[in-house]
Symmetry: D2
Subunit: 327 residues, 4 copies
């Protein structure tokens, strides 16, 4: 039956979602218990990505662990939210204000404790506010140093867990400090600890004008691919759409590279179904993801490998089109 | 002293601002009274753009009018907010749900009443939710028909006011129905009423991959340029940055085309200073705008006109660089 | 068997192709006779788009007509090449230099004669050099006036043929004057003659950040859709790739809108297989196009129409995914 | 008088230039002697970047050296042209065809010899054809390995010279293998030899959606910044425009970071004045560059440093705007 990666869903996908034109939210607030229940109800899903502190404010970590068990869900990484509080509006680990910076690192260390309790694999570090909006706004070198020092402190304190950097070109800042896969790898190397990892989000790769399969291959080569966020997007923004609705070939190639490496980590849905019923959107997303995995499994890898030796587009497309076109 | 357009500020610029990662807002909520006071405190500003219903919920229109007088501010257009309520999450005028559509048009008609009371010039119609996120999601032709019908109903009911279409490529939808200047002009023509207008937002033009000066010239040629939103942006997103911090030459050219047409409408600041003190950001924005206007006034129009006859980049740049470089 | 549009190929697709880093060309020069023969050899292709004067320099129009007959090919539009000679480097119809402008119009008029001889349907007017590279470089209004006057002169002289505007965002200029579908429609209207048309190139639509199906629907509504260029592209540049290799869903929706309108014009392959065997690339392109058409024919239009009334992404995707996913 | 970097010009800037729509060229062919003479005639320019083999085909390296001396020009790096011959259409160092790959490396080794004779500082390695156009077209890992091996062979053979990687997002390929600054740094590290360097092209940084100052700072931190190509661009394509005509603030910040590091390498003009008199375009480019350097020198670095500690956009812009605005 072929390669069959574990499927997970980010808890926020089925939660309330807002944007700058609808700050009240497109839906009502959804408590963590209900988000877990919703994710657990989706056929084919065995994991959930929670965020800290968001999902650990009214519930203790042990209570969250119990809920996961009840819903037959494993924890993937815990997503660290050190971007959604105004004290971090100009940065978390790279903040030049010591108290803001300390608070961010302390939050990460508290997340480490929570991760242990719920048996998460590590922390997903998406540094949303660590960046800049204007030319001249920051001292880039100092920002990077502070960022790396922060990663090092957290990774040192959690040798039993992974510390996984998720890059993104921009948003909410006009420029993020960690803006593409190669920089994430560079930074992970600079931290210099064996428990660093890199997470690739399919839509983030497109926004950084990368080929997602190529950067997955790069992260795999450096033995750093720790996780994958899956979704779809137009390529100029982090649209966080339902997978399998827009970029079929690039999604297929991305999955094919993971299949070739026999990637056994999580494939985690990260989408924002603002205007859809979130559970229905997740169900469709998972079915589409399974459909794409099934297609990726039907690709003749031997024929592909041979065609790639020619570097000829016609030869390689002849192999791929078989999974889509009958003629 | 040259061309000197009237300067205004959008009330939201000095209000609370949120985004999807900081839904609680980067600042506290700011009541309308305070927003008017803040805008009125900025040297050089003589107008304000309020939004309906946002700025008319706790205050009656007559009270708003009184506040404007007290702060020596004129009303520009009223910005219509028919995007920030969940019933319009899939569209306002183009919504296939009759009750949502009716509510949007009725809100516009109520805004017309408010506009008359505060002596605004018209309504700014930015149709934020009228668009689509996915291929196949909507019947484009039907969406357009509904949109045009809505414009027609409102413009018919307000022959004493302008109904001004503001286009934008996307956000909050992945695709907006009215996504560039030419389409806004086409739609204004299709409505077929003399009080239709078009508003050009500098950053929106960049995001639509337009040259802002070129589309300003186009709207002027069709006698439709009803207003201008000013700001700065990187060109892939509606960054809503402080003017005069990024795209100097394109901003200068945009102002130069307005100067050449002796544009006497409003130049309205539309920015989102999420992480800055909003009043300080507005003061800097206005000083930068005045600085840019001063530069635009220093351009030798006769020499430019002559150089443009050659269509030669070196010849035209020789005229322009004089306002920036001494060598 | 459903909707089955006529398929054509641009003669340049199977010709020599160069770029700024390979000015000598990726292949040897290919004479017109051979290009016609190559296109005629591809199963499923019944039309060819030739360019003027390129394909009419060593052959008389009557000889070209004879070659078409021998190869069982009909002429679509003739593509007008008034961009590939240095006298037009700063513009053709919009050139401020009268002699360059006159030469461009005279070339178009000569192309009209050729079109009559080979029984082409009209002229495809892609105004490659009519644009600008720098802010301030041109007087936009004057450029537009000259452009429109040129179109009017040609369209007046050829009431028996169509004059079809093909828009493109940029390249070879950093900005083209006719940069999106709405502007093409606006300009076609301004010319004010019944034989004006608009051509939509799938990759050009993507580059202009349009949804290709949406602008096809727009052009159809204005009764202006005169032709279609088909290919694939990443969306930031006119990549001119083999169809069906990248953007499957948007291509499918584009074809679906054409099917819904029962479009009976040409679907013309416009690609640049720089590094591929051109005939093999064309064969694959046609098979992929036929595969996509077959998929578009399998979409349940009644169900789609009904789902689109909800404007719900999940509902509409449920209809579409049936043609791709079995689960 | 402040920081004053050495200014150079790429020989191709004053040569013939073509594109895919004007393969015959926008100008006549210009022999190397004349290109050197033209560059030498521009006030303020002390260096030239030649390309190999292009500028070493009719002249021996010793003759080139003599011409440089006569024109008072130093050689910067030699730009390696292993992209402009059809045998490399699918890649040079990363070509899966051994003979094409060998020919590319041998050309690099021959360029090393030429570099020694003309006393160039190293080789600029822009791997234009090493990339891919379609998903699935290549085995990314194998391509990278071959590329790194090629760099290693050349760098090993030239310990007395630098081997400098210039990255670019795309063109002529739809995707380049070395597509951003971080990947160039990663690859330079992987080669593992002390004479590897990285070249940052201002317009390439914009196209990769980077902030040019930020990546310059990154390359400086890794002690890899070996050279700079200067120009201007809109950010979605390698427009290669005249500097100081479009992105003033980002250019200024880029130069400011170089000034802060007291960068003493070359600032080399890399532009394509297709439609301009090339010598006039270069003269204007150099004057604009000098004007920008003068502005960068007027920035109060102490005040900037202090403002950057606040990470506040208003505070930092107050420092910067002083060099532009009087109000």
């Amino acid at each position: 039956m072929g390669w069959s990666p574990k499927l997970a869903v980010g808890a926020w996908v089925v939660g309330m979602q807002a944007d700058r034109f609808m700050p009240k939210g497109y839906r009502e607030f959804v408590p963590t218990e209900e988000k877990i229940r919703r994710v657990g109800s989706v056929p084919g899903v065995t994991g959930i990505e929670l965020t800290f502190p968001v999902d650990f404010t009214t519930l203790k970590a042990s209570e969250v662990a119990e809920l996961l068990k009840q819903n037959s869900l494993a924890a993937t990484d815990i997503g660290l939210n050190i971007f959604g509080d105004v004290r971090w509006k100009r940065g978390s680990f790279s903040n030049r204000d010591d108290s803001a910076r300390r608070a961010a690192i302390d939050t990460a260390l508290a997340a480490v404790e929570a991760a242990r309790v719920i048996e998460a694999e590590g922390l997903r570090m998406w540094m949303g506010q660590d960046g800049f909006d204007y030319p001249f706004q920051v001292d880039y070198r100092r920002q990077r140093e502070l960022l790396i020092e922060g990663f090092r402190e957290v990774a040192s304190a959690a040798p039993d867990l992974r510390v996984d950097i998720e890059y993104k070109l921009k948003e909410p800042r006009a420029h993020s400090l960690i803006d593409n896969a190669s920089k994430a790898i560079l930074f992970a190397q600079e931290v210099g600890l064996p428990n660093m990892g890199v997470i690739i989000d399919f839509g983030h790769a497109l926004m950084s004008k990368e080929n997602a399969a190529e950067v997955a291959s790069l992260a795999l080569q450096y033995d750093l691919l720790a996780g994958v966020h899956f979704n779809d997007a137009y390529g100029d923004w982090d649209d966080d759409l339902i997978p399998g609705t827009l970029n079929l070939f690039e999604a297929l190639e991305f999955l094919c590279v993971l299949r070739q490496a026999d990637y056994q980590g999580w494939l985690t849905l990260d989408s924002f179904p603002f205007r859809e019923d979130p559970v229905e959107a997740v169900k469709l997303s998972i079915r589409n993801t399974q459909g794409l995995i099934e297609m990726a499994n039907r690709i003749d890898l031997e024929a592909l490998k041979k065609a790639q030796e020619t570097m000829d587009a016609v030869a390689t497309q002849e192999v791929i089109r078989k999974v889509l076109f009958a003629n």
